[in-house]
Subunit: 261 residues, 2 copies
């Protein structure tokens, strides 16, 4: 039993799609969420910069006395997770491992597509992690650099979103499942389903992370067993569209705090 | 008479639209162009970061023995120009001043629209500079954060570009002229013309900068009077779509060099 909050870090509000799933799956847990909206997007930044910013984010969360940290950002996971795990003495979960675990446990996925930011696709982190754990799996990668900026504009379900997604998914045919390798992408889930049809399973990393986190808290015996949920949202820049997106996703009147990091 | 090159700095390849106009207007001049593609886009970065990166860019160009510097980036102009002008002892031209000069000399522009990145619009640099010099002018601003990333994707003349531009220009009606306040935007000039029709003059800052630079070189007597043009392009990251866009714009077989800054 451990009432300390779960810490979550993202480059913006994309990680809110993960927060939503954690909230559903682990309703007792307190959460401190930090979105580095001032420096968004991470997708086009160098590895060194992403490591530096992720360290700053983690240090902010450590001061909030969190018990575990979820890096709810595809780019920060693929570029910085290995490094920060060696520095900080706290369990840190990224978005790749829980999803690979999920695919591993499903026997029917043999051909998989991954969509993500430029930085994530270039790092090849998804393909490497999938193939390390699973034999005989075919992976197709596609960078979709416009999707995260479109999500921040709130353009997730208009004609522009539909056309952009159709264009990006042109080359991804005949896969059993598609991983949404950036935490913004579940915002486009409706449109992606329309484009791909029913045959393809869409893997929302928020759901796999929530499942993985639940198991980790249980294994370490650090669950919060009393209903005591408190969500604290910090953003490094609060004058942004993100606030509306976050509120829409979470469907609660969130109080947004400014974080100076 | 001065054979030293003109230095140009941009966050990416947007400044190539300026290079194209300089090349047309000042065919004798040698040019060294630096595009900070590794750190693109600047539009969403903090003022401090943009100043730091612009200083690095200028120092790179100074080592190339340039005679003047053009900051061919809307965001760097609005956030960093004032600061760097105080630091470096070389004429530095941004994208705002030449355009304000152009509007000042035209009597018929009374209502003007400005489209640019988030950072540029938030800084209010365009509106302030226009109103400082010109009385009784009405200015409407609109941030278009997706356009520069779309330009890098090469999506400048497809259905997605048309829809995005129509959406962004919805609120800009009845202006005499529209300033393309980001140097990427001339890549969309065809589509913007289709959306706005003939009544609105589209001001390509590349053209106003070329005119302004020509006058400045003449006034200071540092023109290159012999035909001796040499274009050196440096990018901080050369694995990018930008190379194709640059080549298409300039219609020459450009040699792209990697700059380590």
């Amino acid at each position: 039993m451990d009432k300390r909050p779960i810490g979550m870090f993202d480059s913006g509000v994309g990680g809110m799609t993960v927060l939503k799933e954690i909230k559903n799956k682990l309703p007792n847990e307190n959460i401190v969420y930090l979105g580095d909206t001032k420096r968004f997007p991470y997708g086009s930044k160098s590895k060194e910069t992403i490591i530096e910013l992720t360290k700053k984010g983690i240090e902010f969360l450590l001061k909030k006395n969190v018990k575990i940290i979820i890096i709810a950002c595809g780019t920060a996971t693929s570029q910085a997770l290995d490094v920060v795990r060696k520095i900080y003495n706290i369990p840190i979960i990224g978005i790749i491992e829980p999803t690979v675990e999920y695919i591993y446990n499903k026997q029917n996925i043999k051909r998989i597509g991954v969509i993500a930011t430029n930085g994530t696709i270039r790092s090849n982190g998804w393909e490497k992690s999938i193939k390390e754990k699973i034999n005989n799996i075919f992976v197709t990668n596609k960078a979709c650099p416009l999707l995260a900026p479109m999500a921040e504009e709130g353009w997730t379900n208009n004609e522009i979103a539909k056309l952009a997604i159709s264009k990006y998914l042109e080359d991804i045919n005949n896969v059993d499942a598609l991983i949404l390798g950036c935490t913004h992408y579940p915002l486009f889930e409706g449109v992606i389903k329309q484009v791909l049809g029913d045959k393809t399973e869409i893997i929302n990393t928020g759901k796999t992370i929530a499942e993985f986190t639940k198991k980790l808290l249980k294994d370490k015996n650090i669950e919060n067993k009393e209903l005591n949920n408190d969500y604290k949202i910090y953003l490094t820049d609060i004058e942004c569209n993100f606030v509306n997106i976050a509120k829409e996703l979470i469907k609660e009147d969130l109080i947004i705090n400014k974080a100076e990091i």
